[in-house]
């Protein structure tokens, strides 16, 4: 099957994906209003926003392999949007933690970060995302110059690794879910290895 053309990707697929990515947030709001978030609604929102941030981050990392392997060059027009959506869900995730876990209690927040390694790693992932989100626009790309911008945006690999570790360390016992994400991330990183990338790129 041939990959969609850049024109179709930009004109139809991009708006469609935009709406699709917004749906988890819309559903959460709807469920909250109808009291359908289960016995522990805050936990449901916290977990859901965190998982969507991770999923979108991994989807962002799918762009390059798909572009090369399937020659779907138009896909690059979706990458920034996917990355920003990952950031959007990460911000929600962080806000739920700041507001509903600790209600802006700075001491409790710092304590949580310093005493609990999984929180520290999660915070690191978020902080590393900040410069990427800030420099995601066309203006900053031009200011930094292509090469430097690309160099900076390699941080996304660290973000993804930290995010998976954050999820992994959070688990008490059953690590099956973080394991799935770890495997997917492993594959996505492997596909970037020069030896492998050369074969399909």
């Amino acid at each position: 099957m041939k990959a969609p053309s850049p024109d179709i990707t930009l004109r139809y697929i991009k708006p469609f994906v935009f709406v699709l990515c917004l749906l988890p947030a819309v559903f959460l709001c709807g469920q909250a209003l109808m009291d359908q978030l289960g016995a522990n609604p805050v936990e449901t929102i916290l977990h859901s926003t965190g998982e969507w941030a991770l999923r979108l981050l991994l989807l962002t990392l799918c762009v390059t392999p798909l572009r090369r392997g399937w020659r779907w060059h138009g896909l690059i027009r979706l990458r920034r949007m996917l990355g920003l959506y990952a950031f959007f869900y990460a911000v929600l995730h962080l806000c739920v933690w700041v507001v509903f876990e600790h209600f802006f209690d700075v001491h409790a927040l710092l304590n949580d970060i310093l005493k609990h390694p999984y929180i520290m790693v999660g915070m690191a992932a978020f902080l590393l995302m900040l410069p990427l989100a800030i420099t995601s626009n066309q203006y900053m790309l031009k200011r930094l110059g292509g090469a430097q911008w690309q160099q900076l945006h390699r941080l996304v690999y660290l973000v993804a690794i930290a995010a998976v570790i954050h999820f992994w360390w959070k688990m008490k016992l059953d690590i099956s879910e973080p394991l799935i994400y770890a495997v997917i991330l492993g594959i996505l990183l492997m596909l970037r290895h020069p030896a492998i990338a050369k074969r399909y790129g």
């Binding site: 909250a32 209003l33 009291d35 978030l37 289960g38 016995a39 522990n40 609604p41 805050v42 936990e43 509903f100 876990e101 600790h102 209600f103 409790a108 304590n111 949580d112 005493k115 609990h116 390694p117 999984y118 959070k170 008490k172 016992l173 059953d174 690590i175 099956s176």
Partner: protein, 327 residues
């Protein structure tokens, strides 16, 4: 339009829990039929009668009210029965409710052995017979920092232990959950604890009148996901101490090994008393989220109390102990 204030509503007009549940079950069942397009109107009344009869059988007839009960509002039935940590039935919070039907709670027997004069394996009915069941509304605090208020039905563990006459060697009590991977899918899981799940108490903790053996919830037979047919409830300790679906109670001279402690000794102590001052490697224990009510009611966490608010009754058990060390 006539609007009656709540004081004018007679208690007889308030839907009892059994009727409420029967209606819910009925609506659920009928919903399923309606989806399949097979809902003849005529069968609805018999369906409802059947459901309500079934619910009646599950209710306890006479329950004493316990002075140990809190007057806090109990967490809704649906939350208590659909948000559970019972790894034998799966590690997700909703897994236990989903797999509860696999657990066969009848017939059920419990072995009582070790340092007692009358060891043996007893049918559950024989174990329960001499005890007067009472309703006790306790706070339940999970180490994961959520909490509930649960109307248990049960009796003091101490009353049971005394019947089997502990010897002078009985210093600790060890408890065991059923180990049967066929009934408990979680016991077949790749990521599982060491089975059978084991817990323990010091003898004075076990004999404390607050320590409960529960057989019911909200006036009805305990649902399987909550540890049917008989479970321990120690309200001043984190929930994982309150072992479910008991099959063995052993009195010992030495402190018994306990499941979560074996799994991660630096995270879960033997005592596991609720303590806001001792942080856990995963969760700060200073606050808790009380589950219940609407979405907006449990947005903000509340302070956790030492010994889960039972300090007055139990703090003396730990006098002179360093609770940071014996967490």
């Amino acid at each position: 339009m006539l609007i009656r204030s709540s004081s004018k509503i007679k208690s007889s007009e308030i839907t009892s829990h059994s009727v409420y549940q029967a209606r819910r079950d009925f609506m659920r069942d009928m919903g399923g039929l309606a989806l399949a397009g097979l809902a003849p109107a005529a069968c609805s009344s018999t369906e409802a009668e059947g459901q309500s009869k079934k619910t009646q059988e599950k209710r306890f007839a006479h329950l004493e009210r316990s002075p140990f009960s809190t007057d806090e509002t109990p967490t809704p039935h649906s939350k208590i029965t659909h948000y559970n940590n019972f790894y034998e039935l799966g590690t997700g919070k909703s897994d236990p409710a989903k797999y509860a039907h696999r657990l066969r709670t009848q017939p059920w027997s419990v072995t009582i052995d070790g340092a007692v004069e009358k060891p043996g394996t007893y049918q559950l009915e024989d174990i329960l017979k001499p005890h007067t069941l009472e309703e006790r509304i306790y706070r339940l605090r999970c180490v994961e920092t959520w909490s509930m208020v649960v109307p248990w039905v049960g009796f003091s563990l101490g009353d049971l232990l005394k019947r089997f006459q502990p010897t002078s060697k009985a210093k600790f009590v060890a408890f065991e959950t059923l180990h049967d991977p066929e009934q408990m899918p979680g016991q077949r899981s790749l990521f599982s604890l060491q089975w059978p799940y084991a817990e323990g108490l010091r003898m004075d903790e076990a004999l404390h009148p607050l320590t409960l053996l529960a057989v019911g919830l909200y006036g009805e037979v305990l649902p399987s996901q909550n540890g049917a047919p008989i479970r321990l409830v120690v309200p001043w300790k984190y929930g994982f101490k309150s072992i479910k679906s008991l099959v063995r109670i052993t009195l010992l001279e030495e402190q018994p090994p306990t499941t979560w402690h074996l799994m991660a000794p630096d995270e879960y102590g033997f005592y596991a008393n609720v303590n806001p001052d001792v942080s856990h490697p995963r969760w700060s224990q200073a606050k808790e989220r009380r589950l219940g009510g609407s979405f907006f009611e449990n947005l903000i966490k509340q302070e956790t109390l030492p010994f889960n608010g039972y300090a007055e009754q139990v703090a003396h058990l730990y006098q002179g102990m360093d609770l940071h060390q014996h967490f």
